[in-house]
Amino acid sequence: MKCDVCEKEATVFLTQIINGQMTTVNLCEGCSKAKGVTEETGFGLAEAFLTHSHRPDENMEVVCDACGFTASQLKKIGRMGCPECYTAFREGLDGLLRNMHKGTRHVGKRPNNQGAGTPQLLPRRRGAVPAPPSAPAPAAATPPPAPPPVDVNKLRADLDLAVKEERYEDAARLKAEIERLQTKASSK
């Protein structure tokens, strides 16, 4: 049995009955943790499932451009998806950090190679893999070039098909793409 979210072997099987309607979700260990299934409190099956791919009208949620991580995922697991997420979700971050730490500004050690040209390591582009930023300063993120006209409805149809055919990597990519377009549209 494969995980409903990624392609790994599912080890956590959840069945929930609401109003006589039975829903089953199969998850691998990693995804079950990410979805908060293993936490004792606050797990809503429908919620965990719906936030993944079956809610096309998810409106205006903040998404990290670099990795596709969403604000609701951040809220759920309390962790970021990639270093760029700190730029994407910077709103409200200061307040959070004030409660967590002694201050909100780093005063310690700095790495040597900051701004020293391009990193030697480049991730292979696949799905929602981010390209390394040319400069580390998060505030100065340059806006991406205007996207080619893409039909969101077409992407949604592709997404449904991908889910049906269990091509979850494609599904994740499509979903990130749709969310990106939606955020862009709503911010205009």
Partner: protein, 374 residues
């Protein structure tokens, strides 16, 4: 590179050596969380991305001067028991051991530095020293971190510092923790106020194996919770100051035990020695608690010929995964308890049991040794 068997056969540097306050402070550890720019964090990356990253960074780590000829292993080549052994040795975290493909650990020859790849962050660099010596543990990881940052582009922001998967590690990405043996504070029932006071200053107190674990064997870990807004030396200086205070309280409590509760103290140490020396079934919890008493006895010279490093090594040998590694098979809890007793009996053979009290002081005196008339 070093083989697993070689790594395990040899006691770690911190077990052999002694540091400041070694009688009370077992170890000082510092770990740094680091991530690569342009890669999603391990928790949100695909398996292939983690494998890619591992393949690229592992040779860089292995070629560091500190890590040369060390131990390096991909988790897909490690059995569950072997991974658990590394956890019991404090070389990897429980969370890391639970992962598999795309993860690896590199340990130096002295077992003082370990680098976990693809834990919650891409890198967790850990340094461990005996006694109260956070400065020296930080020096170890600081050097490795600087060398790595020459070769790898770390995710860093001028305002937020090192960017980590969890915002609680932002800034320095540093967690400094000290493992303390506090039997006298527990016996004299002063431990709770001490823990409370330490918690109030913003430090965390945990049990032997980190988050959510019980304080077995009177062992407590104290570590910083704040990582942003203060420089590394400040954080370390603050913890060391607090620990010095806890150490003084423990010393006072030990002195009090000796003076006011001598019979109770001798009774506890004597019982611990007797059970450990002759029992045939020992649960993990019982063994840890009794070894704590024996260690206290050794620290106060009540038992002779008892080397602290022998007890440190035994503490590891009787852990579940170490027992199973030794037996070369999986053991049921019952089998483990009897094997634990067997090893303990053998190792403690050379120790002299606690002698009798000097007659003038052996009369029941202090409140804790009041006779029990049942």
């Amino acid at each position: 590179m070093m083989r697993f068997a070689t790594l395990i056969k040899n006691p770690a540097d911190w077990m052999k050596g002694a540091g400041p306050h070694s009688d009370i402070v077992m170890t000082s550890r510092v770990r740094l969380a680091r991530n690569l720019r342009g890669f999603p964090f391990p928790g949100f990356s695909q398996e292939r991305q983690r494998i890619d990253l591992l393949g690229q960074v592992r040779p860089v780590i292995e070629s560091l001067p500190e890590m040369r000829d060390g131990y390096s292993e991909d988790y897909t080549d490690l059995s569950k028991i072997r991974k658990q052994v590394l956890v019991e040795r404090h070389l990897v975290s429980r969370e890391h051991a639970a992962r598999s493909s795309g993860c690896a650990v590199v340990v130096d020859r002295k077992q003082s530095i370990s680098i976990m790849i693809n834990e919650e962050d891409h890198f967790r660099i850990q340094g461990i020293r005996p006694g109260l010596n956070l400065h020296s543990a930080y020096d170890l990881v600081d050097r490795v971190d600087t060398e790595l940052s020459d070769a790898l582009p770390f995710a860093f922001d001028t305002k937020l510092g090192y960017l980590t998967a969890c915002p609680t590690n932002l800034g320095t990405g540093m967690r400094a923790s000290v493992m303390l043996h506090l039997p006298a504070l527990v016996l004299t029932e002063q431990i709770n106020p001490v823990i409370k006071a330490v918690g109030k200053i913003g430090l965390a107190v945990r049990g032997l194996y980190g988050e959510g674990t019980e304080a077995l064997g009177n062992l407590f870990q104290i570590s910083n919770q704040h990582t942003l807004g203060e420089a590394e030396p400040e954080i370390i200086a603050q913890i060391e100051k607090v620990i010095e205070g806890v150490v003084r309280s423990e010393q006072t409590a030990r002195a009090k035990l000796r003076e006011d509760h001598q019979t109770m103290l001798h009774d506890q140490v004597g019982r611990a020695y007797a059970v450990l020396r002759y029992a045939h079934i020992l649960s993990s919890k019982e063994a840890l608690n009794l070894l704590s008493m024996l260690r206290l006895g050794a620290d106060l010279d009540l038992v002779g010929n008892c080397d602290r490093s022998l007890l440190d090594m035994l503490l590891l040998e009787i852990q579940p995964a170490h027992l199973q590694l030794n037996a070369a098979r999986e053991l049921s809890p019952e089998e483990r308890d009897s094997m634990r007793a067997e090893i303990t009996r053998a190792r403690l053979q050379s120790i002299d049991g606690p002698g009798s009290l000097p007659p003038s002081q052996s009369t029941p005196g202090g409140p804790a040794s009041a006779p029990n008339d049942e």
